[in-house]
Symmetry: C2
Subunit: 125 residues, 2 copies
Amino acid sequence: MNETPICEIESVNQEAIEYVTKQLCSDEEIYRFTELFKVLSTPSRLKILFALQHHELCVCDLAIVLNTTTSAVSHQLRILRQNDLVKFRKDGKNVYYSLVNKSFVESILNNHEWFGLEHSFCTGE
Amino acid sequence: MNETPICEIESVNQEAIEYVTKQLCSDEEIYRFTELFKVLSTPSRLKILFALQHHELCVCDLAIVLNTTTSAVSHQLRILRQNDLVKFRKDGKNVYYSLVNKSFVESILNNHEWFGLEHSFCTGE
DNA sequence: TGAACAATTGAACAATCGTTCATATGAACG
DNA sequence: CGTTCATATGAACGATTGTTCAATTGTTCA
């Protein structure tokens, strides 16, 4: 039985641990980072954001663009709404969605070299 | 029974759909985006990246900083390794991990205004 | 060689998540 | 009103995931 899963204090770099720990974000701050990354981590939601970058679209339009159902799109739009990434306006029976902060999605695209991608796709050029 | 879950073609903005669809990334490109966001979307992995930003650390050190087990850290380090986010060097029994691309993590921090955060935390200032 | 220890790995578990299906809401229009 | 259609919602399902536990690898050192 191993009561202390972590190694003995003698064998680690105590100074580095203290320094790094002091620099580290709080759990709450880390959580806010990861929550946004989680929203961006599914193809369906990312496609919605990329699509809305070019034009506002209703739920029906988005379902066609993503080749899925309006129900699936609506569920994902709710999550994007809750995270203040998209807003909507109602026009009769239709609900048109658009980006809350267009420059946010653009900045993701502009940093696409992060992803080791070679081409400047997703920009339509 | 509803054979066509998507609305009729007459009621959507056909031009917008065609335009947006043409601008949209390929599925493969979208997938590469989301895969990286997925790696960044858990507190344990993000903490590891933030910790390594300030100093290289062995698995044991990281377990102490994250207040978890070496096993949990090692599992997450494997994922970070597979995504080319961290590298390692061996020194006796210890394995020291560091960032492959320091500017990558820094660029995340520099863009923290994305997250609606008010303070410049995580920078140690 | 054998004990000690850092690190890795695989199986298993609980928890989370995205989609699907069925149903409900709500507006337009005859 | 009642029908139609766009959208939203809730339950349920399968799939994925992060952690835990147990076991293993590989190195150091006496």
